[in-house]
C-alpha cells in the first residue's frame, strides 16, 4: 500500500512537468481524472449494493459505503478544481454551460443525501439494505442524468469542449492516461485504507463487548420451568 502511494506521488509530480503545453490547461490533469474516477466509483458502488442485496452479506454494503464515501470526497475535489478552472478560463467561479460539471453537481448533491439516509436508520440490517437500494438507484441515475443535462445544454450551446474527448496530442494523452491511472490507484488505495480502518473499529467494538459481557457473568437468566412439547 505504501508502495502504491509513493509511486503515485512520483507519477503526480513527474507527469504534469512532462507535457508542457497549456497553462491553465494543466488543471485538466487533476480535474478530469478525479471526475472520471469519482463517477466510476459511484457506479461501482451501485454494483456492490446489488451484491449486498443478492448475498445479504454486510461486507458488500461496507464496500459500497466506502466507495460512495471516497467518491464524494473526490467529488469535492472535482467541484473545487472545476470552479478554479472555470475562473481561470472564463473569469467566473461557476458556469452553467459546462454540461459535465453541472451534471456532476447534481450527482454530487444526490450522493450527499446518502449520509442522512444512513444515519437515520437504526437497524443495521435495514440500513444496509436501504443504503444498497440507494446505491443502485443513484448508480443508474448517473448516466441518465448525464444524457439529460448534455442534451439540455447542447440545445442552448452547441459548443462542446472538445479537449475532453479523444483528440489531443500524444504527449498530453500519455500524461492524461498516467494521471488517470494514478488517480484510480489512489482511489483504490484509499478505499482499502478506509475499509481496513472500519473493520478494525468494528472488531474492536466486538472485542470490548465480549470482554465486558464476560465480566457481567452469563447472558441468560436461569429457566424457571422447561418441559418442551413432544410429538405424540
Amino acid at each position: 500500500m505504501v508502495l502504491i502511494t509513493t509511486a503515485l506521488a512520483l507519477v503526480f509530480f513527474y507527469a504534469p512537468n512532462d507535457a508542457d503545453q497549456g497553462f491553465v490547461q494543466k488543471i485538466f490533469y487533476v480535474h478530469v481524472p478525479l471526475a472520471i474516477v469519482a463517477l466510476i466509483g459511484f457506479i461501482v458502488a451501485g454494483v456492490l449494493g446489488a451484491m449486498h442485496l443478492r448475498t445479504r452479506d454486510d461486507t458488500w454494503d461496507a464496500r459500497s459505503y466506502v466507495a460512495i464515501h471516497m467518491s464524494v470526497i473526490f467529488g469535492v475535489g472535482v467541484l473545487a478544481t472545476g470552479a478554479i478552472w472555470a475562473r481561470a478560463s472564463w473569469g467566473k467561479w461557476w458556469v452553467w454551460d459546462e454540461p459535465t460539471l453541472v451534471s456532476f453537481l447534481i450527482v454530487f448533491l444526490l450522493y450527499a443525501t446518502y449520509y442522512p439516509l444512513r444515519y437515520s436508520i437504526d437497524d443495521p440490517q435495514r440500513r444496509a439494505r436501504y443504503a444498497s437500494v440507494f446505491a443502485i438507484t443513484a448508480g443508474a441515475f448517473v448516466p441518465i442524468n448525464f444524457i439529460a443535462v448534455r442534451l439540455a445544454e447542447s440545445l442552448v450551446h452547441p459548443r462542446v469542449l472538445n479537449q475532453t474527448a479523444g483528440d489531443m496530442p500524444g504527449e498530453m494523452r500519455l500524461t492524461f492516461l498516467v494521471a488517470l491511472a494514478g488517480m484510480a490507484l489512489l482511489y483504490v488505495t484509499l478505499v482499502k485504507l478506509e475499509l481496513t480502518s472500519k473493520n478494525a473499529r468494528r472488531q474492536l467494538r466486538r472485542l470490548r463487548k465480549l470482554l465486558e459481557e464476560e465480566r457481567s457473568g452469563g447472558a441468560a437468566p436461569p429457566p424457571i420451568a422447561t418441559v418442551p412439547a413432544k410429538p405424540h
Binding site: 420451568a225 418442551p228 413432544k230
Partner: protein, 253 residues
C-alpha cells in the same frame, strides 16, 4: 450446540429426521435469534406448538413477545435459526403461509377514514375471499357491529374498533391465529361475543400474548415465558402455577 462427531451421512439423516418431525407442528422454532440493531430481541428461542393447540406467551414489556408474533406473521425475518409455520420454512415460503395466518395486533390495522365494512371489504379483496359480503355480514353480526359498520372507524370507540379488528383478523378463516392481547379494550360482553371467533373452542391453532395470567393459563395448552429475549418457561399449562408465571415479571425472581 453439539459438535457432530459422527460421519457426515448419518448427521444429514439426523437433520432430515428433525426436519420431518418439525414439519408436523403448526409452529416450530429452532434456535431463532432476532436483533434490533445491537439489542437482542430474541435469543435462541426453540419452540414446538401442535396443530389445534393454544400457546400462551407471557413476559414483561420488552421480553420479545411482539417480536415473536411479528415473526410468525411473516413481518419480521429471523436473523439466525430455523422458523417453520404451518410446515413452511420462513421467510422463503412466506407466500404459502400468509393466506393461513391471522394477526390481531396491538393496533387494529384499520383505516380510520373508511368505515368498518369498507375496511373489511378491502382486506377481503386482498385475501381474495369468496362471497365476501356474506362473510362480512356474518362477522359484523356476530360482533354486534352491524349497526355501526358504515361509520368511519375514527368515530368508533377503541373497543368497537377492536371488534372490527377481530373481524379483520379472522376474515380469511386462518389456520393460525396470532393474538396480541385480544381482550384489550373489550368489555366482558364484547369479550364473550369474540369468543366463538378467536376463543379456544374455534379449534384453530392460537398464539396468545397476554398479561392476564390466570385467564391465559386457563386458555392455553402450552406456555412460553420470555424475559429479555430468553425462554424461561416452556411447559404444559397444566403443570404450571400462576406463581411460576408471575416470577417472570418479579425482580430477580
Amino acid at each position: 450446540m453439539t459438535v457432530a462427531v459422527e460421519p457426515a451421512i448419518e448427521s444429514s439423516q439426523g437433520s432430515q429426521r428433525a426436519r420431518a418431525e418439525s414439519s408436523t407442528f403448526a409452529v416450530a422454532l429452532d434456535q431463532v435469534v432476532r436483533h434490533y440493531g445491537e439489542r437482542v430481541a430474541l435469543r435462541q428461542v426453540t419452540l414446538r406448538l401442535e396443530q389445534g393447540r393454544t400457546l400462551a406467551v407471557f413476559g414483561p414489556n420488552g421480553a420479545g413477545k411482539t417480536t415473536l408474533l411479528r415473526m410468525l406473521a411473516t413481518l419480521l425475518l429471523p436473523h439466525e435459526g430455523e422458523l417453520r409455520v404451518l410446515g413452511h420454512v420462513l421467510p422463503r415460503e412466506a407466500h404459502r403461509v400468509r393466506p393461513h395466518v391471522g394477526l390481531l395486533a396491538h393496533e387494529p390495522l384499520l383505516y380510520r377514514d373508511l368505515s368498518g365494512r369498507e375496511n373489511l371489504r378491502f382486506y377481503a379483496r386482498l385475501y381474495d375471499i369468496e362471497a365476501p359480503e356474506v362473510r362480512i355480514a356474518h362477522l359484523l353480526e356476530s360482533t354486534a357491529m352491524t349497526t355501526r359498520s358504515d361509520e368511519p372507524v375514527r368515530n368508533l370507540s377503541r373497543g368497537m374498533a377492536q371488534r372490527i379488528g377481530i373481524c379483520r383478523a379472522v376474515l380469511h378463516r386462518p389456520e393460525l391465529l396470532l393474538l396480541d392481547e385480544p381482550r384489550a379494550h373489550l368489555d366482558p360482553e364484547a369479550a364473550a361475543m369474540a369468543e366463538p371467533l378467536i376463543g379456544a373452542r374455534t379449534g384453530v391453532t392460537r398464539v396468545l400474548v397476554t398479561h392476564e395470567i390466570e385467564h391465559g393459563l386457563a386458555e392455553a395448552d402450552h406456555v412460553l415465558g420470555l424475559r429479555e429475549g430468553s425462554v424461561l418457561i416452556d411447559a404444559p399449562a397444566a403443570q404450571l402455577d400462576p406463581r411460576d408465571v408471575r416470577a417472570l415479571y418479579g425482580a430477580g425472581a
